[in-house]
């Protein structure tokens, strides 16, 4: 391999030769450097990564699975997987992209497991503080069948959360990565292991769905009396 260079500043035990492009990459992303220290068996670096990323990971996972406890278990599982995969880590991408790729796989497995269990509600729209089938309620609202009343911030948050939960898992993941992690289409494609056009399509359909459900609340706040069909044409 041409152009070998060793990156200075990593712990003394680190003796892996790295290409210049890799050096540039983790000079830009300090978390790549931390992860390389983890690969080099540094517990302190691992703790630093957990501290830095646990909140971000939890946020995405909680909105993805709709349950704090399961999100915490998943986040812990992800860090365990990171630890176990540390020797195979190659600084080929931003660290967060690698981490969320692992998280995406773990979450997909967890959601599949949940699907196999009949006692757990599969449709996010069947649960939540708004009672059964809140999506129906939301669509009623958007078609003007619900009595008018003021929505407070907490209710608005619930509605936004449920509109997100009503999306398919893949759309939801793409939205969360875009919104909370500010990832580019290319990064989302890497994390979800799909093509860039597929990400484009997922995000477009997701945002259209969110628009359909949320626009009436936005337009009329308390009393959604119009639907937006006219706008579509």
């Amino acid at each position: 391999m041409p152009n070998f260079a060793r990156f200075a500043g990593i712990s003394t035990g680190f003796a892996v030769a790295l290409s210049e492009s890799s050096v540039r990459r983790y000079a830009i992303d300090p978390d790549v450097r931390l992860m390389l220290e983890v690969r080099d068996d540094s517990a302190a670096a691992f703790e630093e990564l957990v501290t830095r990323y646990q909140g971000r990971l939890l946020t995405v996972l909680q909105h993805l699975v709709g349950n704090r406890e399961q999100a915490e278990d998943l986040a812990q599982d992800v860090f365990l997987r990171v630890y176990r995969a540390r020797k195979r880590y190659e600084p080929g991408a931003k660290f967060s992209t690698w981490l969320f790729t692992i998280a995406n796989r773990a979450a997909i497995n967890a959601l599949r497991d949940r699907c196999r269990r009949p006692e757990i509600n599969l449709r996010p729209s069947d649960s939540g503080p708004m009672g059964p089938r809140p999506l129906d309620t939301m669509l009623q609202a958007s078609s003007g069948q619900m009595p008018a009343r003021q929505l407070d911030k907490a209710e608005m948050r619930d509605i936004v959360r449920m509109s997100l939960e009503a999306l398919g898992e893949r759309q939801r993941m793409a939205v969360l990565l875009s919104k909370f992690e500010g990832m580019s289409y290319l990064e989302i494609a890497d994390v979800m292991e799909i093509s860039v056009p597929a990400v484009k399509s997922l995000l477009s359909r997701a945002r259209e769905h969110l628009r359909e459900v949320l626009q009436p609340y936005l337009d009329h706040g308390a009393s959604p009396t119009l639907n937006l069909e006219a706008d579509d044409e």
Binding site: D41, A44, E47, L58, T59, H63, A75, R86, V160, R211
Partner: protein, 469 residues
């Protein structure tokens, strides 16, 4: 809407979304911008997509709590040490196989392999009775220590809950044959097998000397004419240790056996004097906790009606029953308990009081009824506090389990220098626990071979404290 226009809209939406996300190339961007300039419908569409996207800002971030980060690190540390252990075992196992094959090929022949391959279950089966009482045995130096506790009349009381009626979970009789033990292990539920494996791992990590000490203690206990009493003393002593804070427990276990015996007696007697005979049994504690739950369900509407803020009321009403119960506990019982039960508990009716007393044993009920009213509420507040603490200690999903606690103590006993122990003991108990956990994490070197104590990895956060002293 025709099929074509729907398809066109989808494509337009994709372009608009990509435009908003800054994902269009310059040509695509110019195209969208010209559409926006010429078509008000496209402008409205873009605005609508953007505004509804912005609504997602309402979603809350989910910050990680400090205990979660800590448990994550501990979990990974534990997994790392298990992985290391397994790797060592795999390597050992491979070495044995190679050796056996060589010997077999050279002289003994193929049948020698079977003879040389050790039965991996042999040690597990042999030490099973010890593994199942590992926690108890580890707290006791030798059989004399138990005899002295017995002779001083300490920890003799029969266990007053259902556990007393049956052998401790998973306990085995000494005279069971290895075959019977093997059969018993194979019949265990998976959770019990995993628990056993954890104990086995811990036992294997002990020094050969300590393993031998535990075997001797077990054998001595089995053959003692007063085995049943000594066993009860050991169980009660262990349970009693668990009621102490980690700090007090560490302090006690750090003493030499003779001094510890004196300290245990002094503390035990002073607790007896303080609590008299007003300590509730485990069964009564459970019944009190069940009462709290029923109470919350019975007074739920009253509780909700008492909320002056309608938004808060609606939010509480929307919570699931478990969380609502927790909110009820926090807002109704905790302030009352914190005030020391100086007034009657909020919302308590005569019927509730009757139900609560029914949860107590007849003798305890009688004693309670003889107390003045104010004293009764104070006792109730004390009991509830103790019942909740006990639940948090033994059952809390993310609180310290006994296993973890044991690990902390082992580290405290054997993993620290005298100076370090003194320094920890000088800290408040919470701070000491936190510091101890950090030290375990750094010293465990989960990613490498077991460390040599002479060159411990320094906790960078320790330095200022050390320097300050």
């Amino acid at each position: 809407m025709s099929k074509d226009s729907s398809k066109r809209d989808l494509s337009l939406d994709e372009q608009l979304v990509a435009y908003l996300d800054g994902e269009l190339d310059p040509e695509g961007r110019r195209h969208i911008e010209s559409l926006l300039a010429s078509d008000p419908k496209v402008r409205r569409r873009l605005q609508s997509l953007e505004q509804t996207w912005d609504l997602l800002d309402e979603l809350e971030a989910a910050p990680a709590s400090e205990p979660l980060t800590r448990t994550t690190l501990e979990m990974v540390a534990l997994a790392a040490s298990n992985d290391a252990q397994q790797a060592v075992q795999r390597r050992r196992s491979r070495r044995w196989q190679i050796l056996a094959a060589l010997i077999a090929a050279a002289a003994i022949g193929y049948c020698g392999v079977a003879w040389l391959t050790p039965d991996p279950n042999y040690q597990l089966v042999r030490d099973l009775p010890i593994l199942q009482r590992l926690d108890e045995y580890r707290q006791v130096e030798n059989i004399d220590f138990l005899r002295q506790l017995r002779d001083q009349g300490l920890f003799l009381t029969p266990r007053n809950d259902s556990v007393a009626d049956s052998p401790r979970a998973g306990s085995v009789e000494a005279d069971r044959s290895p075959q019977a033990l093997k059969g018993m292990i194979s019949q265990m539920p998976v959770a019990d097998k995993e628990r056993l494996l954890r104990f086995y791992d811990r036992f294997s990590r002990l020094s050969e000397e300590e393993q031998q000490r535990l075997r001797q203690l077990h054998a001595a206990l089995q053959h003692d004419p007063d085995a049943a009493t000594l066993q009860r003393v050991m169980e009660n002593y262990y349970d009693w240790l668990q009621t102490l804070s980690a700090y007090r427990r560490a302090e006690l276990l750090d003493l030499k056996p003779k001094d510890r015996l004196a300290a245990v007696e002094k503390r035990w007697q002073s607790e007896r004097r303080r609590d008299g005979d007003r300590r509730l049994s485990d069964k009564e504690n459970e019944a009190l906790l069940a009462f709290l739950q029923e109470f919350a369900a019975r007074h739920e509407s009253e509780f909700l009606a008492a909320q002056s803020d309608p938004k808060q009321r609606a939010r509480l009403a929307n919570l699931g029953p478990g969380l609502r119960h927790l909110a009820f506990f926090r807002e109704v019982w905790q302030p009352w308990m914190a005030a020391g039960g100086k007034t009657p508990p909020p919302m308590m009716t005569e019927a509730d009081w009757g139900r609560l007393k029914a949860a107590l044993s007849p003798s305890m009920r009688e004693k309670l009824e003889k107390m003045p009213a104010a004293e009764q509420w104070r006792s109730l507040a004390d009991w509830l506090r103790m019942a909740v603490q006990q639940r948090a200690f033994t059952r809390g999903p993310r609180s310290h389990t006994l296993d973890e606690d044991q690990r902390l103590l082992e580290f405290f006993e054997h993993g620290l220098s005298d100076d370090e122990r003194d320094r920890l003991l000088a800290m408040p108990s919470e701070e000491m626990l936190r510091q101890l956990q950090r030290m375990i994490w750094y010293r465990a070197k989960p990613f490498t071979a077991p460390p040599h104590r002479s060159a411990p990895r320094r906790d960078p956060q320790e330095s200022p404290r050390r320097d300050a002293q």
